[in-house]
Amino acid sequence: MWLIWAILDSRRERADEDRSADQLALAGLARGDETALASLYDRHATGVYSLALRILQDVGDAEDIVQEVFTQAWRQASRYDARRGAVVAWLLTMARTRAIDRLRARRTRTQDVIDDDVAEVSDPVALQDAMLLSGEQVSRVRAAVSQLPVLQRVALELAYYEGLTHAEIAARLEEPLGTVKTRIRSAMLKLRDALEGAR
């Protein structure tokens, strides 16, 4: 039993270490310290790149997003408020917002736009309570995603990774707005339970 606690403790410590290393790096960025940027990059470039690649499906575009995100982090580090949450959540929110902006611009160019709602869409909510997941948590959430009823999963993926709006998802799946709304909330509640079970 004590062994389990020891393992849990060490994992929690590691997460705390990562978090404080990030805070430290960000303070370095705010002072204009380039080695701090390099250390932040080494810890999170893979996460930022993988998310951008998943959304944009293009290596060149994903690389551009990585550059934009770390440049923005460098510029805005002094304004970053640690109370707003983990640095990794900040970086990933920037990555998703920028990648989806680019995706929507691409769709507008190919005039594959369903209605004017695209321009009217709101930004994603900042991920105050998000944190870096352990490998075990990632596999749990992945498993939970694969067990979602397929239309819940599809609606969620279209919203999250394709950046489609409520109205666009409803049109794409030929379903009423209310149904799409319910599907997405149900899917997210299930993933929340899986995530909380994993802690």
């Binding site: 204009g32 380039e34 390099a38 990059y41 470039a45 893979t46 996460g47 790149y49 993988s50 998310l51 998943r54 994903a62 690389e63 990585v66 770390f70 440049t71 990933l92 929110t93 917002t97 989806i100 369903i114 709602d117 009217e120 869409v121 709101s122 994603p124 909510v125 991920l127 105050q128 309570d129 944190m131 997941l133 990632v138 959430v141 992945r142 599809v154 969620l156 993926e157 919203a159 999250y160 394709e162 950046g163 709006t165 409520h166 049109a171 794409r172 799946l173 030929e174 209310g178 799409v180 709304k181 319910t182 997405i184 909330r185 149900s186 997210m188 509640l189 993933l191 929340r192 995530l195």
Partner: protein, 278 residues
């Protein structure tokens, strides 16, 4: 636009709100509600954790090493702060006048050199071992990465189909041999076919389900379908881009390996609506 007059309709917006998928109008409505509803505020907070975890689900693929240099250089240009470290230059100056110290040191060094050489041989051996190990690990990583790429390509092809503009949806109903079975197909001429089914009966040995895209001319095989233990199917198929406009889709049971034209019992049938989704 959803006509949210009661609390439930508003409450249900939480998921779309967190994902940033609400229209500006609905977002304003929901935020007004949020300010006075602690239950919704709690739910939104808990769902931001889900949104944050979705960001971390894609297979983790490291970017090319060249990108690191490019990003650091771009930031360096931004500030124009490529000044050399002044402390190193000062240190060299201080020791320059003490060149006799270097001479003395070299004598001490020579004495220690024999011991050092033998230590060095040991270190080189250890380093060679480490290098071998690292090479093995790099090979393993490469294999793992290839696996990850494959898995992610499979998952993404589904969404690629569903995100295509020429998407058509087909609901397939269970036939007398399997009345409770049901399925839904999403078909895009340009990107392929996503097929999901539930409650398909377990296959007897040596048999397999086969999915057919029925055109006015003839049924064309889309592929073979093997349900999991719970009778569910979730699969992606490619269809030829020059396929004639389908009128229906059907699933039959066939000998293992499949057949060029359907021969067995029909388990699922659905007709294709003439109008594409979008």
């Amino acid at each position: 636009m959803a006509g949210p007059t009661d609390h439930n309709a508003l409450h249900e917006m939480s998921g779309l709100y967190v994902l940033g998928s609400l229209s500006r109008e609905d977002r304003a409505i929901f935020e007004t509600h949020l300010a006075g509803c602690p239950a919704c505020a709690d739910e939104v907070r808990s769902l931001t954790r889900v949104s944050g975890s979705l960001a971390q689900l894609p297979p983790q693929i490291p970017p090319s090493p060249a990108l690191r240099a490019r990003v650091l250089a771009a930031v360096g240009r931004l500030e124009g702060s490529a000044e050399p470290a002044p402390r190193a230059a000062a240190a060299a100056g201080a020791f320059g006048s003490l060149s006799w110290l270097a001479a003395a040191a070299s004598i001490v060094l020579a004495a220690g050199l024999g011991v050092y050489a033998s230590q060095l041989r040991g270190r080189i051996g250890a380093l060679e071992d480490q290098l071998r190990e690292a090479t093995l690990r790099a090979d393993a990583n490469e294999r793992q990465m290839a696996d990850l790429r494959r898995v992610s390509a499979e998952a993404q092809s589904q969404v690629a189909v569903l995100a295509s503009p020429d998407l058509a949806r087909v609901d397939l109903a269970g036939q007398p041999v399997a009345p409770s079975a049901s399925a839904r197909a999403f078909w895009s001429r340009s990107r392929g076919l996503v097929f999901t089914a539930s409650d398909l009966p377990a296959l007897p040995p040596g048999r397999i389900y086969q999915l057919w895209v029925v055109t006015a001319q003839a049924p064309i095989s889309a592929g073979l379908v093997r349900p999991d233990q719970t009778g569910r199917v979730n699969a992606v198929f490619q269809t030829p881009p020059d396929i004639p406009q389908p009128v229906a889709m059907a699933v039959t049971i066939e000998p293992d390996g499949g057949v060029p034209a359907p021969t067995g019992d029909r388990y699922l049938i659905g007709t294709v609506a003439s109008r594409p989704v979008s």
